[in-house]
């Protein structure tokens, strides 16, 4: 890295890389935490007309700072409209009006199925996680799904302890066979790389490495034998505008929430 390039953290490049996947004008159903950060970064940079939907009911939210919870008042105040939770799921998500579901997860497998329910046995869990939230319905019905999570062998596992929300199940045309309307996950963004499902097998394949990250690091941080695309592209480093916008947003957020920092839940 030359002196002219801004230094950034792995979290920052992950957020920036995810934000870039959102097209201006897209209707995006946003999970709280990292997905919400990335979606708002997109809104404040290249995608001012993005429509952010939160499962608590706001449609077209433009929060001045990041929400700490999925039902913060600033989402309602800045939304084009606020509807009830059943309506969000019935008319807007199931109704086919959501282009992208933007979600996090605790565990993911090679076909981008995700677990947010338990680590260990369901009846006697080692760790009880918060649960499904709206993810099973979002994963079913959004036209496309983008997943964001930090990469480690504990999170990227050979076999999920629990399939909360379906990605490509066991690969191939599984989603079609299940009758799921959306295309499912089209990208997984981590702090190391970007993965996309293989067009036919649907197995996650690394297509982009973030600057300075090696294949070995990605392999080590994956619980299965991760595949790499024939041609690997380097993720462009965050621009100074992206970085400044993200840092400013996080700084304002911290101030607004009395230094209580949002975590990914």
């Amino acid at each position: 890295m030359t002196a002219a390039q801004p230094a950034y953290t792995t979290n920052e490049i992950m957020t920036v890389a995810a934000a870039r996947l959102l097209k201006n004008g897209a209707v995006c159903f946003v999970g709280i935490g990292l997905p919400s950060t990335a979606a708002n970064l997109a809104r404040l940079t290249h995608a001012p007309d993005i429509v952010l939907i939160y499962e608590s009911g706001p449609i077209g939210a433009k929060p001045p700072v990041l929400p700490l919870s999925i039902g913060d008042g600033n989402l309602a105040e800045t939304a084009d409209t606020v509807v009830s939770t059943p309506e969000i799921f019935r008319y807007w998500l199931q109704g086919g009006r959501v282009d992208v579901g933007f979600l996090g997860a605790a565990q993911i497998d090679r076909f981008a199925n995700i677990n947010t329910t338990v680590i260990g046995d369901y009846k006697r869990p080692a760790t009880r996680l918060p649960g499904a939230g709206g993810a099973p319905e979002i994963a079913s019905c959004a036209s496309e799904v983008v997943l964001l999570l930090k990469q480690s062998a504990r999170a990227f596992v050979k076999k999920l302890d629990f399939v909360t929300s379906v990605g490509h199940l066991d690969g191939g045309d599984a989603r079609k066979r299940l009758g799921l309307p959306g295309k499912g996950p089209v990208a997984v963004v981590t702090d190391l790389c970007l993965m996309e499902p293989d067009p036919s097998s649907k197995e996650l394949t690394v297509t982009h490495l973030h600057p300075g990250i090696t294949r070995e690091e990605v392999t080590k941080a994956t619980g299965w034998e991760i595949r790499f695309a024939g041609t690997l592209t380097e993720t462009p480093a965050p621009t100074s505008i992206e970085l400044e916008t993200l840092r400013d947003l996080e700084r304002r957020t911290k101030l607004a929430h009395g230094n209580v920092v949002a975590t990914s839940t």
Binding site: S56, L68, V82, Y122, R128, G134, L178, V260, T265
Partner: protein
């Protein structure tokens, strides 16, 4: 359930929260205290703990800190939910202790997603036996929740998921305003409160204030007095969550809860000092402010 008996829906009485919980919440009831981050009925939840209700089946899309308190205090035998966490902070330690280690008692869980559980309330409000959604194909949730079933659409043959209607014995919500007749107005993020009230056999609403005229606009979310059993004036009753137009969310309390709830003994002392040994919500607020001032909260 068939609603033919109009005596199930008496006109709302404006009474104290203590009276409402004493009269309307019974041991063993199925109780929904709804609120999607906004307007969470904390004062009412505390009163249920204070009156030591037991064996409740608690229902909520997003059980958070108030359900953590109810579960840790031993009020619940079962939880029907779709996301259980401390929003923006992390785990609910009392919920986890109950599920992972049966403390203070085993907690049966019936787990859904927001889409199906919110629509289960819609079905309940519509007096239909079940709700239909397009989800769960390939998910493990139906393997662990026998209330999620798959049905075939009689018109298209499509396989869809079905869940039974939720009809709580009692739904409790918090709202911004009531008028003197007991008509209730709420706005902002409404979550599933209207559906949960209309699905319930009885409903209690706590409000920030009681006014002469709601000055509501057409299409406002109004719950007419005759759909409610009791309306209770409890200013600040959603604290530490927020009431749009009245006060903001106390994020520091949510963060402090992580430390309070982590250890059983600290939690029990907190419940005793702040809830069991206080008379009502305003005394709770006073005791909490005092303990915060001497740093006990941290």
């Amino acid at each position: 359930m068939c609603r033919t008996d109009s005596s199930e829906f008496p006109m709302a009485e404006i009474i104290t929260l203590r009276e409402a919980v004493a009269a309307l919440v019974r041991d063993g009831d199925t109780v929904a205290m709804e609120g999607f981050t906004h307007l969470i009925p904390f004062a009412a939840g505390h009163e249920v703990i204070r009156q030591r209700r037991k064996q409740l089946t608690l229902v909520r899309l997003t059980p958070d800190v108030i359900y953590d308190q109810l579960i840790g205090a031993g009020c619940a035998k079962k939880l029907i939910f779709s996301w259980g966490g401390n929003p923006g902070v992390g785990s609910l330690h009392r919920l986890r202790d109950a599920v992972e280690r049966d403390w203070p008692a085993p907690l049966e869980i019936q787990e859904h997603g927001h889409g199906d559980l919110s629509n289960a309330y819609v079905a309940g409000a519509a007096n239909l036996p079940f709700a239909v959604i397009r989800a769960y194909a390939g998910s493990d949730l139906p393997n662990h929740n026998d209330k999620i079933k798959f049905i075939e659409c009689p018109f298209t043959g499509e396989t869809l998921a079905a869940v039974p209607a939720i009809n709580p014995d009692v739904t409790i919500i918090h709202a911004q305003k009531a008028d003197r007749k007991g008509n209730v107005l709420l706005w902002g993020i409404l979550g599933v409160q209207k559906e949960a009230v209309l699905a319930a056999k009885k409903a209690i609403v706590t409000v920030e204030e009681i006014v002469d005229d709601l000055k509501a606009w057409p299409n406002a979310c109004i719950l007419p007095a005759w759909t409610l059993a009791a309306v209770c004036c409890v200013p600040g009753g959603a604290f530490p969550s927020y009431a749009h137009g009245y006060y903001e969310r106390d994020n520091r309390f949510y963060q402090a809860w992580d430390a309070i709830s982590r250890e059983r003994e600290i939690f029990q002392n907190w419940i005793k000092t702040h809830i069991l040994n206080t008379l009502d919500f305003s005394e709770f607020r006073r005791v909490l402010a005092e303990s915060a001032a001497v740093g006990v909260r941290q």
